[in-house]
């Protein structure tokens, strides 16, 4: 019983992190109908920005509230800017081209980033994984019984940050002018433009938002994993993409549910079967969901507009 509770907690902690990344996939898909395969790698770049910031502010400042805030702020804002640049110079010129063109470009950017960051020139970090500095010093937050269940402080903080960001996003999408414009563009960008919505700007902001969220998620992942590597984006990105598809890509709450389910499934596999089975079960689960509901849990199979 205690073991089950422990796995539930770990699964939820992992799921909320996946959720933040999955939201990025789903929002960009919503406005552009583009699977942004570079999303995970943009996240990785954000994590390295946070990594550099953590070192720049020094060991003493790292554990403080301000230190953590600075790491997150630099990583998220920097990554938002990075996402903006990618959209502006890689995707926007291809806007009127067939959708496949942008998709291949996304894959190209993904590889350029994940392998480019393995170079060892200039500011690039090189291929080997590095220990991520302890910006949150690990402490037990809650112990039940004789260490039957242990909840760590970073799990709680990570959970709070993730949930906070999701609530903020929910408000942004459903309560503000920008969110309304985003939903309108997602429904029909041509009509949206005719109603005075600057569609290019909405799309650019969507990229910034999803990249910023990804950087936040990446940092939480790096804290959990205590390491950072140029290939982490491929791995986390793929899992988050699976989560978004499980939930129904383009569906905002669906991405969160999909991610939580995936996090729990993975954790239970690791806990009760073998950790080597984790990825196989995760992808097997995706196949199962798509067999029963081809549009994902919340998605609709849309008839192609004629």
């Amino acid at each position: 019983m205690a073991q089950l509770l422990q796995h539930l907690i770990n699964g939820l902690a992992a799921g909320t992190i996946y959720a933040l990344v999955a939201l990025g996939y789903t929002m960009v898909y919503g406005v552009l109908k583009l699977i942004n395969f570079a999303h995970g790698d943009v996240m990785m770049v954000g994590v390295y920005m946070g990594y550099a910031t953590a070192f720049a502010i020094g060991r003493e400042a790292r554990g403080s509230f301000l230190g953590i805030a600075a790491v997150f702020a630099v990583a998220m804002l920097g990554c938002a800017l990075f996402g903006f640049l990618i959209e502006r110079f890689a995707y926007r010129p291809l806007r009127e081209k067939p959708r496949l063109t942008a998709l291949i470009t996304a894959i190209g950017i993904s590889f350029a980033l994940s392998y480019g960051f393995q170079l060892d020139i200039g500011f690039l970090p090189g291929a080997s994984p590095r220990a991520f500095p302890e910006i949150i010093e690990p402490k037990e937050w809650l112990i039940i019984g004789d260490r039957d269940v242990v909840v760590w402080n970073w799990q709680v903080i990570s959970f709070l940050i993730a949930v906070g960001l999701m609530v903020a996003l929910q408000y942004l999408v459903f309560g503000t002018r920008f969110g309304r414009a985003m939903r309108a563009v997602s429904w029909d960008h041509r009509v949206a433009a005719l109603m005075g919505i600057p569609t290019d700007r909405v799309i650019a902001l969507t990229f910034m938002l999803s990249s910023g969220l990804a950087a936040g998620a990446g940092l939480l992942y790096a804290i959990k994993d205590t390491s950072v590597s140029p290939l982490m984006g491929l791995y986390v990105g793929l899992k988050a993409f699976v989560a978004a598809v499980i939930g129904g890509i383009g569906h905002v709450p669906g991405a969160v549910v999909g991610a939580l389910v995936l996090g729990l499934v993975e954790e239970f596999v690791v806990g009760y079967a073998a950790s080597t089975w984790r990825d196989a079960v995760a992808f097997g689960f995706l196949i199962l969901v798509l067999l029963v509901k081809p549009g994902g849990l919340f998605g609709r199979v849309a008839a192609e507009k004629v």
């Binding site: 942004l172 309560g175 503000t176 002018r177 920008f178 309304r180 414009a181 939903r183 309108a184 429904w187 029909d188 041509r190 009509v191 949206a192 433009a193 005719l194 109603m195 005075g196 919505i197 600057p198 569609t199 700007r201 902001l205």
Partner: protein, 298 residues
């Protein structure tokens, strides 16, 4: 209803001479096909004009040129005296041109209120629409600041949000849709969806309203109501209106001037009575059946 919720009148009334929307010899070509040739049009405040012609005559192309979806191959388009060739659709909408669609194109998953709010303008944006072309750069910077405000939830943003809601609610009321406020657009009956499209178009505070077959799919009773409504909107919102319509009775009934297109060329223009008796129009559009039923109007 508070005073600032009244979205009705444009800030500066247009001078009588300046046309709100004017085209000068506009032609558009798709490959070898001339979709529109030497198209001329001038709409002033208070105008209620019609655009008719058989299928494929270029009516929809004309709407697409007027709203910036297509760029003219030749000729110029002016909105309130500003040349808009090369401008994007959302910029032209900001200058005061809004439209509805023949096949209803609402944001179907959004509520009726949100559909209208999407189009509603921030006051800052409205001021920009009165600005000259010269201030373009400052304009762009301002626009960015404006959108960031929405992200940062400042008090001024909250005020703005309340103002937009009030504005949209007012438009729903005008169109008799208040009871549908929180329903998703796709769940509205057909006639109400058409009215919601007009409400949405009015949300962007246009000076010229382009209606693309507003009576399509309506019964006689609804058409009669629509005629009254279009006149009322023109007067209350101080608009110039251009209507594409197949229903002759409706067009002849409300339009003061009618332009007839055939194969992209303007074959006639004038008051309903003139157009109705024009030989070319009868041949091209109204057809033999019309001649028979009216005993040869020519």
């Amino acid at each position: 209803m508070s005073a600032n919720a009244q979205p009705v009148a444009p800030v500066a009334p247009a001078t009588k001479s300046a046309a709100l929307l004017r085209t000068d010899g506009v032609s558009i070509q798709f490959g070898g096909l001339k979709a529109l040739t030497d198209f001329r049009l001038s709409i002033q405040q208070g105008d209620l004009q019609g655009l008719i012609g058989p299928n494929g005559a270029g009516k929809s192309t004309a709407f697409n040129v007027l709203t910036g979806v297509y760029q003219p191959s030749q000729g110029e388009v002016f909105v309130s005296g500003t040349k808009v060739n090369g401008r994007k659709p959302h910029q032209i909408n900001l200058l005061g041109v809004a439209r509805t669609f023949q096949n209803i194109r609402l944001f179907r998953a959004l509520t009726a209120l949100d559909n209208v709010k999407v189009a509603c303008r921030a006051q800052t944006a409205l001021h920009q629409s009165r600005m000259g072309v010269g201030a373009k750069l400052a304009n762009a910077a301002h626009n960015y600041a404006d959108w960031w405000k929405a992200l940062l939830l400042t008090p001024s943003f909250q005020r703005e949000e309340r103002r937009l809601t009030a504005q949209a609610e007012h438009l729903l009321e005008v169109m008799g849709l208040s009871h549908r406020r929180d329903e998703e657009a796709r769940n509205l009956p057909y006639g109400e969806q058409r009215r919601l499209e007009i409400a949405r178009a009015l949300g962007s505070q246009p000076r010229v309203l382009l209606l693309d077959e507003p009576a399509a799919g309506m019964n006689t009773r609804e058409k009669a109501d629509l005629m009254v409504l279009i006149r009322k909107l023109r007067d209350d919102f101080k608009l110039g209106v251009l209507v594409i319509e197949h229903d002759m009775k409706l067009v002849m009934g409300i339009c003061e001037q009618i332009t007839v297109l055939d194969h992209g060329e303007t074959i006639a223009r004038g008051a309903p009575a003139e157009v109705r008796s024009d030989r070319k129009v009868i041949e091209a559009y109204l057809g033999d059946s019309y001649l028979e039923s009216h005993g040869g109007a020519a």
